[in-house]
Amino acid sequence: MNQLYDVIIIGGGPAGLSAAYSAWENGAKKIIVIERDRELGGILQQCIHNGFGLHHFKEELTGPGYAYRCIEMIKDKPEIETLVDTMVLDVKDNKTVIAVSPEKGLMELQGKTVILTMGCRERTRGAIRTPGERPAGVFTAGAAQRMVNMEGYLPGHKIVILGSGDIGLVMARRMSLEGCKVQAVLEICPFSNGLTRNIVQCLHDYDIPLYLSHTIVKIHGDTRVTGITVAKVDYKMCPIPGTEFDIECDTVLLSVGLIPENELSNGLNLAMHPLTAGPIVDQHRETSLDGFFAAGNVVHVHDLVDFVSDEAEIAGKYAALKALGKMEGEMREVKVSAINGVRTCVPQKLSMSVANPADEKVKLFMRVAAPHRKVRLEIKSGDNVLLSKPLPVAKPSEMIAVEIPAAKFDLIGDEITVGLLL
């Protein structure tokens, strides 16, 4: 099997599906989505809670509901093929994709463009070096979520959750609803890394204590977890001697961060950003390698799937235009730098058409380094202010999205800075 595709999309989660639809809408004639799981939809399929889709579909959906919408949009379109239970083993820089499945064996596909939408994975106990024994009963929150929501088993009965990211908070509620006792949620930072609505709806509503500035200093148990020792941490996040106390539990769920899944990107030697841990992209979501696009959590971890879809639609559109030869013409590169309290900003660069600069408005997605109240976001190029916007609240856990209007494009020099006025 060696066929020429306009767009090959690696990953059939919300990013891949949205990119496929957008590529189709923009005229691509031959599109394929490759998914390693047994069905399309990605991690949404195990997120059976609600709260998805308010921005993108203007209504509140569950994870599987959101996935269903995305799948419906690409279904029955002769231009879009999908493969499930299929793993991409290798992508070459000439856009040859090697994939494997039990049904079709080893496949070689050729693309004019490739969109990387592999999503992200969870940080593990090993990455944060939690001391103690290594018994059964220590899971990443997402792995436990899949077992509970899709396979129908419990990871344990008495639960402690380390990390107050959204998956951890949602799992605290899920485990409570399943009849388990959630003993505590521990967070090493002095603030939660989850959405405020999740703190309220998943912890407060179930009387689950949240210990800020606390972490696990030892996991106990020879065969199965029997408990943990917890300590308060100082401002450097080091445990403070004398503050230790024990919590009895048979399960520890880890929600300690997500890491973009960039094994394939690294194999392609794409330019990567050290803080987002994803490929550096321009406003079209094209990476450093011509014809390779990337979108969603593989570029930077999002908190809302809605923004993933928005971003993937951009990637799908420009991948389609590229495949159709509509992205010609001289471009100049503008660097986008995150400064003054803004930790990351995507895209990290703009490719501005020299002939026609007022191409289309540019949307920037950013995260701040620390929580703030009543600050101003300022986007400048040299001395020219492109956008100045007051932010009542700015939190590291909530991605900020703003648009630079096309009318301001003639003010843009070689660099744009994105920062807070503190």
Binding site: R36, D85, M87, L89, I98, V100, S101, P102, E103, K104, G105, L106, R121, E122, T124, R125, G126, A127, R129, P131, G132, E133, R134, P135, A136, F139, T140, G142, A143, R146, M147, V148, E151, G152, Y153, L154, P155, G156, H157, E178, G179, C180, V217, K218, I219, D222, T223, R224, P239, E263, N266
Partner: protein
């Protein structure tokens, strides 16, 4: 107690030493049974160590450690082909950072020559940096070209499989409770599964070898557990760490905290060395991790800690005699292979030869004419060419389903690991045979899937699948709506 079977030799302990002995015994006309208290082989010292096949210059000349180390190293070169073992002959460096340490290198080299180690050489700082450009403060190093790294779990399983294909038996979940003696000599072993009548017993019980010996009436030695902690890095970290085996200059207590590659291209730092009272303490400690990081930074100041993927601790069996304890005890029919701390992994095949030859001599057993030395060759999917991969899937389409995405391990390989002789029975057993779960996500993605495959292949409920040891269940039934179990 119920009688289960009658045999010639019972080997106690399914680590690298016990299985190496079992394999050597299976060359003779002897009925042999290995008993292991855990659900799988390779769960004691064998599962958490540095995996180094030492050249043999460390141990005092003439000691059992020195003799079996040098012999064992040679045997691995032969076994590698026969048993299709994963070994990388990297050579090893002992790096000196001061003039004083340079003098120690000379001592080590002389001892190495006396021990019969070939090819030893003192390298200049420039020569060392050519091999390992990330090292700092290097004055010179002792280069031992015969050293390497192996895959200890794979070797243990291969030894056991080879023994089984030559008629030996491996009984897991079988704990020794006592011994039966007749006229002062060994006549049987009492286990939780019943009595095994036997003429000979070989004690390869690791950190518990002293307790087993005592049960038999031999209290000539004691074993202390010495804990060593490790930090393991992702495969991508080697470019900022090392490509081979790098020791600091040794101290009296240990060979020091090393920076070292593995057979599959990960890198680790460790171990430290702490004597324990508790033989079940496998906890990694904050102090221990700080100790090994501080020490490793003397050789590599910028450790890529962001690429650490796991930490673990292993226990070594340190004997009160200071050397390995190999051979017959005062109890007739009772043999020891005890105190097998470093270089025990390297020495294991040589220890096997010594013990098996002695038992064969005493029992008058002859060598089998039809001993099958070779195991069928297998190749990991990841290491196959594309054509081989396509063929493997054609023969069995489960090779087309990747279960462990970090290490590219297919369902076909996992099913084979479960259904082979001495097959995997636990999630970690699958991991040690196939590497599923050994990558950067540490089983976060594939752990539940491997659990489901084990349940299907072993025909047991998912709730009975174990992570590793008895009672280490992974998952439970949901509560019924009325609050009870479903």
């Amino acid at each position: 107690m119920e009688f289960v079977k009658s045999t010639d030799v019972v080997v106690i302990g399914g680590g690298i030493v016990g299985t190496a002995i079992l394999r050597e015994l299976s060359k003779y006309d002897l009925q042999c049974v290995l008993v292991e208290k855990e659900p799988d082989v390779s769960l004691g010292t064998t599962k958490a160590n540095s995996a180094i096949l030492h050249a043999g210059f460390d141990a005092p000349t003439g000691s059992l450690k020195a003799i079996t180390n040098v012999r064992g190293n040679k045997l691995y070169h032969q076994l590698e082909k026969e048993l299709d073992l994963d070994i990388k002959w990297t050579g090893s460096l002992v790096v000196a950072t001061t003039e004083e340490e340079m003098a120690t290198l000379q001592e080590l080299m002389q001892r190495g020559h006396a021990n019969g180690v070939e090819g030893l050489q003192i390298l200049t700082a420039e020569e060392v940096l050519e091999q390992e450009p990330n090292l700092q403060n290097v004055k010179g190093a002792l280069w031992a070209p015969t050293a390497g790294v192996c895959w200890p779990f794979g070797a243990t399983v291969a030894f056991a499989q080879c023994a089984v294909q030559n008629g030996a038996e491996v009984m897991c979940d079988t704990k020794v409770l006592g011994f039966i003696k007749e006229d002062g000599r060994i006549a049987g072993v009492e286990t939780n599964k019943g009595v095994i009548k036997t003429k000979y017993v070989v004690n390869a019980a690791g950190v518990y070898a002293d307790e087993i010996a005592k049960l038999a009436g031999d209290d000539s030695f004691t074993i202390t557990a010495r804990k060593g902690e490790y930090i393991l890095f992702d495969k991508t970290a080697c470019n900022s760490l090392v490509y081979g085996v790098v020791f600091p200059c040794p101290t009296k207590k240990s060979k020091g905290i090393l920076v070292c590659t593995t057979t599959h291209g990960n890198t680790f730092i460790g171990p430290n060395a702490n004597e324990l009272e508790d033989k079940e303490d496998h906890a990694v400690t904050m102090d221990g991790m700080n100790e090994i990081m501080t020490s490793a930074r003397k050789l590599i100041p910028n450790l890529p800690m962001g690429q650490a993927i796991t930490q673990f601790a292993g226990l070594r069996a340190v004997s009160s005699t200071g050397d390995f304890i190999i051979g017959p005890s005062d109890i007739e029919g009772f043999f020891n292979a005890a105190g097998m701390q470093s270089p025990g992994l390297t020495a294991a095949p040589a220890v096997g030869e010594l013990v098996a030859a002695e038992i064969a001599r005493l029992s008058g057993a002859a060598k089998k004419a039809n001993f099958k030395a070779a195991l069928p060759k297998t190749k990991a999917f990841l290491r196959m060419t594309r054509t081989e991969q396509a063929k493997a899937i054609e023969a069995n389409n489960l090779y087309g389903r990747v279960i462990c995405r970090c290490e590219t391990i297919t369902e076909g390989e996992i099913v084979e690991a479960i259904n082979s002789p001495v097959g995997a029975r636990t999630v970690d057993g699958v991991k040690r045979r196939t590497r599923a779960g050994m990558g950067r996500c540490q089983g976060g993605f594939c752990g539940p899937r491997v659990t489901q495959i084990l349940a299907r292949e072993l025909n047991i409920p998912i709730t009975e699948v174990l992570k590793e040891r008895t009672d280490s269940n992974m998952f439970y039934e949901k509560y019924a709506a009325d609050g009870g179990e479903e």
